[in-house]
Symmetry: none
Subunit: 205 residues, 4 copies
DNA sequence: TATGAATGAGTGTTCATTCAT
DNA sequence: AATGAATGAACACTCATTCAT
């Protein structure tokens, strides 16, 4: 019985992974259940043993995406170090997460487009981004309190920072020649507050 | 001879505008020709008197979008003033253009998603963004040459700037509570080079 | 007023001729009112000033065909000469008529196919062929009575003769390399009764 | 594993047979996929599990027709007996084949009309008839060589013979009162060369 | 009379989902 | 659980016909 359960879960994940690959390749709208089943190596009908509908596959992919985002956020926010340091960890973590799973990242294009589906939207992306901004704004304020100079309103700053990250990812999704990894340092340099002068003792003394 | 309601050009644009509204509302994938015809107040068949296919409507909407973008770019690049000033005009112009036509902006979500359609993609968005980045990078280098301190590679900086603009717009598209107009000043403060020291008399003297 | 009428009739004939050309080229099923109007050099709507419907154009073309057939039949049957001579004139006349108007002949392919439309069939082709056979059978019997040897039942003979004519035309319609003019002599030699021995003085004496 | 009702091959042939019946009844142009599906007792979509398109159904029907024709031709040509005997077998075989499957024969009306579709024509009927004529011409020449008197050029004779067969069938298709079976003897008597004098003892002696 | 824009019923085809095996 | 044949609702697109000008 136990192995059965494990099998079932594994098979479900295989199908989900296949769906994400197909969504990434063709876009959700053009992805047929047939394609997904073939990619997963199962019969078409079998997809329905693990998922209720084609749309649910997108929902679950969306959840996988938010779960990973939340993990990065939690890790950064809860981690050690000063606020600025944790912000940097967050930026690097988000980009690393997305580049580590490019197919999942590509599904973002569908999730963004699906945001207009209204309440049945595969995920409340608006809420996800709101939390994302709130967490970053909090860190930015903390950083300012810890001595980092903050030029603009923390919440607006957070929105610009989230925007820059997502916008860089967007450019990469649309044009694979854009290298998101190479953009992390510029992002950090341009959009994180400079380290507080007092955070590190001057090593030259 | 007098046209029943409007001349050909006008009628075509009415239908295109209707299509853009419907695409904005439901997303391209869920937009039916019937919806568009109804929104335009014409019969379904009439849409085909002006457009070859549903997909062509998206193509033409995409062209409308790039035309407006190119106009903003040209205006900013060709305008008077120093490089930094023109960059600022560009940033403000892009955001103003998108907020002035929110439905057209919302179609961006479909255009991004459609970038995976391959060669038949409604628009070579990758090329559009490449040009966008190149123009901004050129302005950034010019600004640096004119004395504005530039901390990072101009092309990376351009990508981050384009990303931040698009990313802020993205957040607005997904969550109408985000106000892009309020983000322009932060964008400018955070991502444009500081004005060259010589533009303002040094107050420390 | 009179010239108006003449104009109207002329214009109607022009449109009919255009329709026949288009039917001949594409087949009735694939012939669009647009094509016909363009071929006739008038606007689409104008076709409806002269004909009630697309189908009526086929009806009228069919009538044109039967009128010509009937003329040939009448001419042959009513003409001078012995029965065999008139039969030969009939065979030659039918083939000449069809080859003189190849586009009208090609429409036969549609008329045959349309014979399954039932009562609304563009023409009661079955009746046309029945009359055709009856007239020929009568001539064949007359020829036999006049001394031409007749080996088979006159009505069956007539059916075979009509069949051979139509079948030769059919082969030409399907394959333009078949030359119906070259088949008339063989048709006559093979399927008409030999001339009565008495019609020509035996040269061997 | 056991098929719901029949194996794939069988089901395909059921649908094809249904299509042939519907084509025969209404003509190809007026035959709706719905009609065919209903005639076959399946849902509309199921037709597409076995055929790519409505047009393909006509293609396959056409192939069925040529396959049967070719079989008759081969059987006659390869059979035993003198040339004249084989010719007679061919004529009788063709007519028997067509009357045995009247629905398939009726589709001929569509195939003839479809000959104008050009290269996408469901079948190269011109080629089919060319081969038909060539085979018959060869047999006619052989018969002449074997002593049967031949009055006209063998190829023209073959065209007339093919024409007479097809034309008799045509008359039957258009008017069911025409009985093709009753026309076979007249066809043979009128259009096949008389048996070679040696086959029967000369009664005048 | 002539036009051609407008109409909308009609149809081939697709594909998510179901279900008998 | 797994299959894949079957289903039928949905939809893009066509085109004969109408009608305002």
């Amino acid at each position: 019985m136990k192995p059965r359960r494990a099998d079932r879960r594994t098979r479900r994940e295989e199908i989900l992974a296949a769906a994400i690959r197909v969504f990434a390749r063709r876009g959700y709208a053009a992805s047929r259940i047939d394609d997904i089943a073939q990619e997963a190596g199962v019969a078409k009908g079998s997809v329905y043993l693990y998922f209720d509908s084609r749309e649910q596959l997108l929902h679950v992919a969306a959840e996988a995406f938010t779960a990973r985002s939340a993990a990065v956020l939690a890790e950064a926010a809860a981690g050690r170090g000063g606020a600025r340091e944790r912000l940097e960890r967050l930026v690097r973590g988000v980009v690393a997460m997305l580049t580590a799973e490019p197919d999942l990242a590509r599904v973002l294009l569908d999730l963004w487009a699906a945001s207009r589906w209204g309440p049945q939207s595969p995920l409340d992306l608006a809420a996800t981004y709101r939390e994302y901004r709130a967490a970053i704004a909090a860190l930015l304020e903390e950083a300012t309190a810890q001595g980092c100079p903050g030029a603009v309103d923390a919440h607006a700053h957070a929105t610009v920072l989230v925007g820059a990250i997502e916008g860089c990812v967007l450019q990469w999704l649309i044009d694979p020649e854009v290298d998101p990894a190479a953009l992390v340092d510029p992002l950090v340099r341009l959009l994180l507050p400079e380290p507080a002068p007092t955070t590190r003792p001057d090593p030259s003394r």
